[in-house]
């Protein structure tokens, strides 16, 4: 017997299955077509319908039914063209006639695996709950026992150190005429150390980001350094750097990342003899908080001419970096040899440090680094870190929260008396709810020397739509409606490089004021309060115990 499916639309999904449902208002729509034209996934389309209506003319009611042809905007029920909730339609609508609405009851994940292909996306973990970082409070307020400082009057030094720091007992110092003298003749290696701003822009590659986005960040960073005197640094991500920048004096504001695909490194190595400045540091990427155990991935649709040339690869091929550095066998080899090679390339003048994803095994890596006098830091990227492309399951279910990971590592260093020697950089979910300075300060007080941000700066500086309700998250497709994570000129021309740079500067200046507003009442101004855990409290006994901080309620 022929199934009835086709007759009663049973083969179709209902809109109730979809994560966002379009609310379109017939009475307001003027049928300009902007929304349907701009939708990055073609989730809405114009349609023509026949409508039956009842009318009555004349002095006495004589209802008759009639039909008319109407144009409507309709949401499709094709899972490949699901509405991502980005809201670009709302943005362009002149009459506020359309907007997507989040559907709590959606069954999106049940269906988004057509052809046996699991759901892939960009963004970060879809968990809108309040993170531990946002639950931490600063409760040690200096008052009469110790005057609070004035954030507007006292001099503040919000700076940190990036690089391996010698233990005081090993400093090559001697005394002459009652003064300390640096003894250079002894041959003691003095590792390179940079004084930087404690909030840095994390690794996002040229390629993952559009040209105006990456340039905007870079311009903002250069402005902060050159004009505002804030030594903010930014990491290149894996994928090299624009050749002109490699040869410019601005290179010193950038951390160059090397990852398992070595993309862009042909160009970097060739530029080495022409560099007029050393980079701020070299980051060796071993893992990423958003997708632990996965390598990098730049989808073919984003590998256009510019990207292909910077990375030294053909156009329109998927660029996947292996999950591990394939040429290295063990942690000792992988870490020690890479650090050694990179240090050597720049004559041991540049700090070299690894970045790993948050994991229970972070302390093992840390202890390996603690024994390696060339390791300049350890960057740990927690589970709330973002990415341009990953499997949803990796993003949502894999990884380790950053708070306890950083705390464990810091306390491990404290046990060894090495907490000042190996700076910890915390990343992953900083500013998730917009509280950039507060999250950064909390991590610093838990033991981080610096924090790294990615998703936050895309949201704050370029209005990225993405959120923890899976809104937009199209970064992997190259169809970013904001022009942030796309290589399509039609899309990225929507983004104004200067505006991005301007916002980067505004964000950092505002965060700087907020950091001072946190540190001042706590009586700290001269040195970053790294590990000042007595300043923190949380309204959760278990977390307080785990992080070894106060419980307050």
């Amino acid at each position: 017997m022929e199934p009835a499916a086709r007759l009663d639309n049973n083969h179709q999904l209902s809109l109730k299955e979809f994560p966002y449902i379009i609310r379109w208002r017939d009475d307001r729509c003027k049928r300009c077509g902007r929304c349907t034209a701009v939708c990055p996934v073609k989730a809405i389309e114009p349609a023509v319908k026949v409508q039956r209506f009842v009318q009555s003319e004349g002095p006495v009611p004589t209802p008759t039914s009639a039909r008319k042809i109407v144009q409507v905007v309709e949401q499709v029920t094709d899972m490949e063209r699901y509405c991502t909730g980005c809201g670009t339609c709302t943005l362009v609508c002149p009459n506020e006639a359309i907007e997507p609405e989040y559907n709590q009851q959606h069954k999106f994940y049940h269906y988004k695996n057509k052809g046996g292909e699991p759901y892939k996306r960009g963004g970060r973990r879809n968990d809108p709950s309040v993170s531990t970082l946002d639950k931490l409070k600063f409760t040690r307020i200096s008052m009469l026992t110790d005057p609070a400082l004035d954030a507007g009057r006292h001099e503040f030094r919000v700076r940190t150190l990036l690089g391996r720091i010698l233990p005081p007992e090993e400093l090559p110092l001697s005394i002459a005429d009652g003064k300390l003298v640096l003894d250079r003749k002894g041959g003691k290696f003095i590792p390179p150390v940079r004084e930087i701003y404690p909030i840095m822009i994390g690794s996002m590659s040229v390629g993952a980001l559009s040209p105006p986005m990456w340039e905007g960040l870079a311009m903002g960073v250069a402005y902060l350094n050159e004009i505002e005197g804030m030594p903010v640094v930014m990491c290149s991500g894996e994928g090299g750097m624009p050749p002109r920048l490699l040869r410019s004096k601005y290179l010193k504001y950038f951390i160059i990342q090397i990852a398992s695909g070595y993309f862009g490194w042909d160009e970097i190595i060739h530029a080495l003899p022409h560099m007029v400045e050393d980079p701020a540091a070299i980051e060796i990427k071993y893992g990423q908080g958003a997708k632990p155990g996965d390598g990098g991935l730049l989808m073919a649709q984003k590998v256009l001419k510019l990207i292909a040339s910077i990375r030294g690869v053909p156009q329109f091929v998927d660029l996947s970096s292996p999950p591990t550095h394939q040429t290295k066998y063990s942690i000792e080899e992988a870490v020690a040899k890479m650090i050694q090679s990179m240090s050597m390339a720049w004559g041991f003048r540049v700090p070299v440090y690894p970045k790993i994803s948050g994991t229970k095994t972070a302390r093992a890596v840390l202890n390996n680094l603690a024994r390696n006098p060339y390791a300049a830091a350890l960057s740990i990227d927690g589970e709330d870190g973002g990415t341009g492309a990953a499997y949803n399951v990796s993003m949502d279910k894999m990884g380790h929260p950053i708070a306890s990971n950083i705390r464990d590592c810091y306390l491990d260093l404290v046990k060894q008396g090495k907490q000042n020697e190996l700076p910890l950089i915390a990343a992953g979910g900083i500013g998730k709810k917009g509280n950039l300075a507060a999250n950064a300060a909390a991590l610093i007080m838990l033991g981080a020397s610096a924090v790294s941000i990615g998703k936050y700066i895309m949201q704050a500086a370029a209005d990225c739509f993405g959120d923890e309700y899976n809104r937009c998250n199209l970064c992997n497709t190259g169809k970013c409606p904001r022009g942030i994570t796309t290589q399509d000129p039609k899309l990225y021309r929507r983004l104004d490089t200067d505006k991005v740079a301007e916002r980067v500067v505004e964000v950092f200046k505002a965060a700087d004021v907020e950091l001072k507003k946190i540190f001042a009442p706590m009586g700290r101004s001269t040195e970053l309060p790294i590990g000042m855990s007595d300043g923190l409290s949380i309204e959760d006994k278990a977390v307080a115990e785990r992080l070894e901080i106060h419980y307050a309620c």
Binding site: L166, L171, L180, S525, E527, P529
Partner: protein
């Protein structure tokens, strides 16, 4: 807030002098305790200068434990002193206050001072640990020519309780702290001044950077960096660490606890050394606001504070006698006949250093090195 009074002198002075100076600053402390450390002792201790003095408080049982323990280590008791207690209303007297002078164990007598210092410190810490839980022993200092007394109560009344006004006890350097009780239950190990291996300091102000500093010091693997019942104890230990352990000249203490900015360091002749020193000692930046008065094993006294200058201090005096105080009225009390015009109010880059025997006072400027 606490009030600090220190006097350094060429001639022996009565420990009452700084206590009376504290009395003039009474509006600034709540009279919840007195700590007093004396060095270069006169009177009955004058002829015992090379022998270590264990000073503290004990119960009868604690006293027996001390005697047995010292005996077991080979220390020979040479002289015992106890304050002439005058019962005072409001001061709860403990069983025994003591200062006992010992000769070193025979095996140590010819050892270098460094090793002797370690023995003394380890012995003091061991006694402290033995008697800490039941409060049967408080051991404040164990070092040649140094006595420390501490008790809860109004500083002047405590001094009279100890009979310091009647005893012939004299010293050339006397540090006294009138305590502000920040934690209502007062614990004697939390009272300034703090002492370790010839280094002593007392401090004004709360130490907001206490936890990272404590963790850093405890990570140095030095057994003396312990205790920390007060956040100010770390100032003494940083002083000890900087000068004794790292071997830096005294004025680098200022560079350690209140480091310059990088742009300022570049102006210093020893900028290269200072830069890496600042990096390596980053967690020891006190971040203030604090004022610190201290002395070192050679009898040098100093005063400094952080750039915020919210806990000021003043140094004044004449050749042969200088007072280092929280307030000008304290200096007036200790050295009334002096040229007030020459009083020194150290600014953020200054470290006032007074040489042993109060010979001269100089202001070392951190900016100029």
């Amino acid at each position: 807030m606490c009030r600090l009074a220190a006097v350094t002198s060429r001639d022996y002075i009565s420990p009452m002098e700084p206590v009376l100076a504290l009395e003039t600053m009474k509006e600034g402390h709540d009279g919840s305790g007195l700590g007093i450390t004396m060095r270069d002792l006169g009177g009955e201790f004058e002829k015992l200068k090379e022998y270590p003095i264990l000073s503290g408080i004990c119960t009868r049982n604690g006293g027996r434990i001390i005697d047995d323990y010292m005996d077991k280590l080979g220390f020979e008791l040479l002289h015992a002193w106890a304050p002439k207690i005058r019962k005072t209303k409001g001061i709860v007297s403990r069983e025994f206050y003591f200062a006992k002078v010992y000769d070193y164990p025979k095996s140590y007598r010819d050892n270098p001072m460094h090793e002797k210092e370690d023995l003394l410190m380890n012995t003091r810490i061991a006694l402290r640990r033995i008697g800490e839980s039941d409060e049967s022993i408080f051991a404040f200092s164990f070092y040649p020519d140094v006595i420390t007394l501490k008790e809860v109560g109004d500083p002047l009344e405590v001094a009279e309780f100890f009979g310091l006004d009647r005893d012939g006890l004299k010293a050339k350097i006397v540090f006294a702290q009138g305590r502000q009780n920040t934690n209502y239950a007062i614990y004697l190990y939390a009272c300034h001044p703090f002492f370790i291996q010839g280094f002593c300091s007392m401090t004004n102000g709360e130490n907001t950077a206490f936890v990272p500093i404590r963790e850093f010091l405890m990570g140095r693997g030095f057994p003396g960096y312990t205790g920390y019942n007060s956040d100010s104890e770390v100032f003494t230990h940083i002083l000890h660490y900087t000068v004794r352990q790292l071997g830096f000249p005294l004025h680098y203490y200022k560079d350690v606890i209140t480091p310059l900015k990088i742009s300022e360091i570049e102006q210093r002749k020893d900028g290269d050394a200072l830069r890496i020193m600042k990096q390596s000692l980053r967690p020891l930046c006190i971040d203030g606001p604090n004022m610190v008065i201290g002395f070192t094993p050679d009898g040098t006294c100093f005063m400094l504070h952080d750039s915020k200058k919210l806990r000021p201090g003043v140094v004044g005096g004449v050749k042969g006698k200088f007072a280092l105080m929280s307030e000008e009225c304290g200096v007036d009390s200790a050295v009334p006949k002096r040229d007030k015009q020459k009083d020194i109010f150290p600014m953020k880059y200054d470290m006032v250093i007074i040489s042993p025997q109060a010979k001269e006072v100089k202001v070392w400027n951190q900016l100029h090195g």
